[in-house]
């Protein structure tokens, strides 16, 4: 850690009194470093330790989670919407590339530090906690795996990367951790492919697919970074916010900013499995069941949402539209695939993609806090659903096809109840966790469309509404097919409830699925918003981009902090900032309120519709799903085959790459090298050098090496060879020497 000169002052509002003191950095640093230490120990000593050292990373993770949660609680009790700690601001920064800051190049001024605000505090605690649970769960689940210790080391590294990512204050480190996460995801998905006894090749392909697909996004993210770097010469989030604010104030939004923001967003598209890079997530279920499911459902995919939230301030209106549309489209697109799936885990995977689409769309329409809110609630009920599906699969002797299930309600009551509760939550039934977050997202989308009055901005809202109905439908289809009706196979007949190690976590998660949402929106202290806004949404609130344009002059002088940029609150708190803004706020508030009420009603209606339809199809048997499918014909097949995206990519991208690389290889062999060989052959014909020459050279070399060892004594005698051609050389040498002496005064 080398001290850096303070970068330009962050906003006073953020800096004064809103920190936890410099000692906090040591604790914050410990949060990612503990898993790192665990990883190192595990890598070097894991096999030799008792129990293959699983307790090492797990206990380290426990400590790390404890610190993260305690820190989060401390932040919570600050109750400050503008809470912000930046280690670069406080003099702790790491000159990463060059330690000599006197070089007048932007890259030499680059420093890396910690950024800790409400958003990262919350996410840090959540990630640390979930990761700890995953560690704990793996102790039991992975028992007996042939690469037990390696699994734990990969898990620790993954956690380290994710925690580091949350704390990064700059794009470079963000990207570094982002990619390390990709690596770990690759290793974890492919874990079974390296099994010492029964390597599973499908896992290898799935891991390769996951890594390559997300890497397409990563490369785009890098290009996005480069776009902003080329113009602003900075890569710290705050530097980017400030520079963007200044630039927008002076020039308005420009095309390259849209381009850069969309490129960065494509990184999130890859990581959060958004259309069109969604194909890897269903296959990623090849990883060890609950663990990889939880990582890919709760933590890693949330990184994409986090990224979108972080770069939201760099997004021009066009870029926001793209984000919103991609998210909304993904939500409905993946949901429709969920309707036709029969593999219980694949259905849940597509459901994850769909829900991630919600979060991304929420950020696109300006609801950063709504999107992140959905991250939490989704993490809870999706974890419950995944564990529940694990329990079902376990109970049905590793049967994953829902057509082979049925009637499990009575055989697995706990699993049934908890999964039902989670399904209600994901469907957006009032009073369950998902309702609040989904409602907030829909409200935000509707509000955006009402404010802008443009048809294109209405699209996300309608798409999301339809997606909500579809979600309710396919989730209840899952429940009905699995738990209701008659058992349709031997496995289902002989199903049994899972042991308590699996049901207890289910019950805990189910409990939160019911009350979790309520908890997050209750405002026990009424401290932040006077009780009108959920505290979570008040603390992690939506940044307001429009104010950048409206108060350009203020921006140019003194704004710069994240907090200040974020300080628009939905309840109208920032209204002292300027007349225009104040007037706008009241109006805005009315719109928000109207939108909220309408969205709530819509959301309830569509959820009910979806559930009722599902009942008609699968519970009461009013319609026969098979006949409907047959009636739909081609459309059904299209959806059933996931819109043929795997096939499409295989036929275009992969096939194209292979063909193109084969073609280039041919060119290399025949044209580029061919030209060289042609020249060579011409020379060969010209000079007739053939095997004889090679032999002469190679053998000559051997001889030379051999002879040179004893050459010295014979050298003089050798001159007298009797070969006139050597004499010619000597003559020539003598002539040169003589000429040198005479003409050039060489000696």
């Amino acid at each position: 850690m080398l001290p850096a000169p303070p970068i330009e002052s962050l906003t006073a509002a953020a800096a004064e009194g809103a920190t936890l003191g410099n000692s906090a950095y040591a604790f914050l640093l410990a949060v990612p470093l503990l898993p790192l230490v665990g990883w190192l120990l595990q890598v070097f000593f894991g096999r030799k330790l008792p129990r293959q050292g699983d307790w090492l990373p797990t206990s380290g993770m426990a400590l790390s989670a404890l610190i993260a949660v305690v820190m989060f609680i401390r932040v919570l009790f600050q109750w400050n919407p503008d809470f912000l700690m930046s280690s670069a601001e406080d003099g702790f920064a790491w000159r990463f590339f060059f330690s000599d800051g006197s070089i007048p190049a932007p890259i030499a001024q680059f420093t890396a530090g910690i950024l800790y605000d409400n958003l990262s505090a919350f996410l840090l605690a959540m990630v640390a906690l979930v990761s700890f649970l995953v560690h704990l769960f793996s102790v039991g689940y992975m028992q007996g795996d042939s690469r037990y210790n390696i699994f734990f080391s990969n898990l620790s590294l993954f956690t380290f990367a994710m925690l580091g990512l949350v704390l990064s204050d700059n794009m470079v480190f963000f990207f570094v951790f982002w990619e390390i996460m990709g690596l770990c995801s690759y290793l974890l998905i492919g874990h079974l492919a390296q099994d010492r006894k029964q390597p599973k090749m499908s896992a290898a392909w799935a891991s390769l697919k996951a890594f390559m697909t997300t890497r397409i996004g990563d490369v785009c993210l890098f290009v996005g970074m480069a776009v902003f770097w080329a113009k602003f010469d900075t890569l710290s989030f705050h530097g980017l916010y400030t520079a963007t604010a200044d630039h927008v104030a002076a020039n308005g939004w420009e095309g390259w900013m849209t381009f850069g923001a969309i490129m960065m967003f494509l990184g999130a598209v890859g990581k959060s499995a958004q259309f069109p890079l969604h194909v890897w997530l269903p296959d990623a279920m090849e990883g060890p069941t609950p663990v990889s499911a939880m990582i890919h459902a709760a933590t890693m995919v949330a990184a994409g949402v986090y990224l979108t939230g972080r770069i939201y301030l760099l997004c021009s209106p066009e870029a926001q539209l793209v984000i919103a549309c991609v998210g909304a489209f993904t939500a409905i697109f993946a949901a429709t695939i969920g309707i036709t799936g029969f593999d219980i885990k694949k259905v849940l995977a597509y459901s994850t993609i769909s829900q991630l689409g919600y979060m991304i769309a929420a950020i696109g329409v300006g609801g950063v806090s709504a999107g992140l809110f959905h991250v939490i609630t989704h993490a809870i009920f999706k974890a419950c659903l995944f564990l529940g599906s694990g329990s079902v699969i376990h109970g049905c002797h590793h049967e994953q096809d829902m057509r082979e299930m049925g009637g499990l309600r009575k055989k697995m009551p706990i699993t049934y109840i908890t999964m039902l509760v989670s399904t209600l939550a994901i469907s957006g039934v009032p009073l369950f966790a998902g309702f609040y977050s989904k409602d907030a997202i829909l409200a935000k989308a509707l509000e955006k469309s009402m404010v802008t009055q443009e048809w294109i901005w209405a699209m996300p809202f309608y798409l999301l509404v339809v997606a909500a109905a579809v979600t309710a439908f396919y989730m209840f289809r899952l429940i009905f097919m699995t738990f209701h009706g008659e058992p349709r196979s031997d496995h289902a007949h002989h199903a049994h409830e899972s042991p308590w190690t699996m049901t207890v976590p289910l019950m805990v998660l189910g409990f939160f699925a019911v009350f979790g949402g309520k908890f997050w929106i209750t405002d026990p202290l009424h401290a932040v918003s006077g009780g009108r806004t959920p505290w979570f949404m008040a603390l992690v609130h939506d940044p307001d981009l429009e104010r950048w344009e409206s108060s350009a002059i203020e921006q140019a002088h003194g704004y710069g902090g994240h907090g200040a940029l974020l300080s628009h609150a939905a309840d109208g708190h920032g209204s002292g900032e300027g007349h225009g803004a104040a007037a706008g706020h009241d109006e805005h508030h009315d719109v928000a309120h109207t939108a909220h009420v309408r969205a709530m009603i819509t959301s309830i209606i569509v959820a009910t519709l979806g559930i009722l339809t599902a009942c008609l199809f699968y519970l009461f048997g009013v319609f026969n799903p098979k006949k409907v499918a047959a009636a739909l014909g081609g459309l059904y097949r299209l959806v059933f085959n996931k819109y043929f995206f795997d096939e499409l990519y295989h036929a275009t991208v992969i096939r194209g790459t292979v063909v193109f690389s084969g073609f280039l290889s041919w060119v290399d062999q025949n044209i580029v090298d061919g030209t060289v060989l042609l020249v060579g052959r011409t020379m060969k014909r010209l000079a007739g050098f053939s095997g004889a020459a090679d032999k002469y050279v190679v053998d000559g070399a051997v001889n030379w090496v051999g002879e040179s060892t004893q050459a010295a004594g014979q050298a003089v005698r050798r001159i007298q060879t009797g070969r006139i051609q050597q004499y010619a050389y000597f003559t020539f040498a003598g002539a040169v020497l003589l000429a040198a002496v005479v003409l050039l005064d060489l000696f």
Binding site: R95, F96, F97, F98, S99, D100, I103, A105, P106, I107, A108, R147, V172, F175, V176, W178, E179, I180, L183, Y186, L187, G190, A193, Q194, R196, P199, M201, A204, L208, M212, R215, V219, C220, F222, V223, M225, A226, W229, A230, T657, V658, S661, G662, L664, S665, D668, V672, D673, T675, V676, G680, G691, A693, D694, V697, V698, A701, V702, V705, S708
Partner: protein, 506 residues
């Protein structure tokens, strides 16, 4: 002399070792091996001492050793080190040292082999340290001969073909360089009265002869020497379309020689560009910049795509070298501080990562005696430790963040984006393809079911681990603390970029 002649020691200790080896009887195999290890180790030791000791990153050329060698032609023995050459010298000493251990099992006339290996090190170290153009050229030629024999005698089945191809290509490059050398020498005589080979003096003269508007066959003097030198060095890098000697040479060369070839020999061309080609013809360089960047981009993408189609593991790695060295050209052509630093750092990082990849191929080849990727599978079950190291190597090769390759590629691309955004976006295709073919190779070698014939495979032994681990450690260490190298280079590169940027204004 107030301190040890470090640079001469680094350069000529291996020569002493070669003499000792030649004096040893052929039957003393162990003595020969350990002598080679000792002398290359001593060279490495001195390189390390210089790296962390007397070298001052803020000063320019230092530790100078200079006296007249051939006064009649004003040729000097002029050695010196600066930020540009220091990391490469260290890398060279390290790679040769490791290569000695990687060669431990060479059987065929091993005395000659180790003697040639040490001679090669003399040439390579000398090229990096020489500051007299003539001396540079002499070392350059010293280096070619051992390489030719090492491929031609100890190589694979088509070794003669590969060796001749290597030799003719590099000979062509040398001839072009020689022409430029003479031309520059004569030109300097016209300016300073007495012609000189001193690179520092020549560099300062560059501003004079760019004024010379007279043309020869339609091109200016600087344009001529720029292209002559450029083609000469580009063959060595190698840049598309001069790269076809590389895969053949790699495939036929024994493992340690591939390691040296990819690890350090390719860097000579790049170093020559930075040291001689660009500074001596700065205006021609400024004119040709865009073209060079395009060549770099083509190399990146083309190398990656061609590598994808190969089934020979070593060919895959060889083409990945073509791809990776493209970054150097792209970064250097961008002329931004970040781009130049990234390009130069890329030389170092590619030295470590490609050396590792070739060692990995070697470990597999020593057991299976073939390199056909489609014929492998499931080695993970027999070689778990090797799998771990190979994973590090492969991820270092594809530039995973947290490893040194990422730092250099990121800096190169960030720097280049300011100047050539479109090219950078195209070259990111190369990043993707590199990841694809390396991981695909990893998958085909290690994963899946284990064929019967490989059941008796053993994991890496200590010697192989000793060769691989230092590189793995370097890759990770420099990925986390890149300042270890970047700080040493920063001032030299800053100077270079200022000098060169002066000509790009118009």
């Amino acid at each position: 002399m107030d301190s040890l002649p470090y640079l001469s020691l680094i350069t000529f200790l291996p020569l002493l070792g070669m003499a000792v080896i030649l004096a040893l009887p052929k039957s003393q195999e162990n003595a020969i091996r350990w002598t080679a290890a000792l002398f290359s180790g001593l060279s490495l030791l001195f390189a390390t001492v210089v790296y962390f000791g007397p070298f001052d990153a803020t000063a320019g050329v230092q530790l100078v050793e200079r006296f007249d060698w051939i006064p009649a032609f004003n040729i000097q023995y002029f050695m010196g080190v600066d930020g540009l050459s220091l990391p490469l010298v260290f890398l060279s000493a390290l790679i040769h040292f490791i290569a000695v251990f990687a060669s431990w099992n060479i059987k065929k006339s091993m005395k000659g082999y180790f003697a040639l290996l040490l001679l090669l090190e003399v040439g390579v170290n000398g090229v990096f340290l020489a500051l007299d153009f003539f001396l540079f050229y002499v070392f350059w030629e010293i280096m070619l001969l051992p390489m030719y024999f090492l491929i031609g005698i100890w190589g694979g089945p088509r070794r003669e073909y590969a060796a001749i191809k290597f030799f003719l290509y590099t000979l062509a490059g040398s001839v072009l360089m020689l022409v430029a050398l003479v031309a520059i020498y004569l030109k300097s005589g016209g300016i300073a009265g007495e012609p000189t080979f001193d690179l520092l003096t020549l560099k300062s003269m560059a501003s004079t002869w760019v004024q010379d508007q007279s043309t020869f066959l339609g091109m200016k003097f600087t344009t001529w020497i720029f292209w002559f030198l450029f083609v000469g060095f580009a063959i060595k890098i190698p840049v598309f379309p001069f790269h076809t000697w590389l895969p053949d040479a790699h495939v036929e060369a024994p493992t340690p020689i591939s390691v040296i070839l990819a690890g350090i020999l390719l860097k000579l061309g790049a170093y020559g560009m930075l040291r001689i080609n660009f500074p001596l013809a700065p205006d021609a360089f400024a004119d040709a910049r865009y073209f060079l960047a395009v060549l770099g981009t083509v190399s990146i993408v083309y190398g990656a795509y061609v590598a994808m189609a190969q089934t020979d593991f070593k060919r895959v790695v060889a083409y990945s070298s073509v791809s990776h060295m493209g970054y150097f050209l792209l970064g250097a052509a961008s002329l931004t501080f970040a781009g130049l630093n990234g390009a130069t750092f890329q030389l170092f990082t590619h030295g470590t990562s490609s050396a590792m990849l070739f060692l990995i191929v070697g470990v597999v080849y020593d057991r299976a005696h073939h390199r056909d990727l489609n014929d492998f599978g499931g080695l993970a079950q027999r070689m778990p430790f090797f799998l771990g190291v190979a994973t590090i190597g492969i991820f270092a090769g594809l530039g995973l963040p947290g490893m040194s390759g990422f730092i250099s590629e990121a800096m190169t691309l960030l720097g280049a984006y300011e100047v050539y955004p479109v090219l950078v976006i195209i070259s990111t295709l190369g990043i993707l393809m590199t990841a694809a073919f390396l991981l695909y190779a990893l998958q085909r070698v290690f994963l899946g079911s284990l064929p019967k014939k490989y059941e008796n495979f053993t994991d890496m032994d200590r010697r192989e681990a000793f060769c691989l681990v230092p590189f793995a450690a370097l890759c990770i260490l420099l990925g986390i603390v890149p300042t270890l190298v970047l700080d040493k280079m920063a001032h030299a590169i800053q100077l270079l970029s200022e000098e060169l940027s002066a000509y790009t204004g118009g």
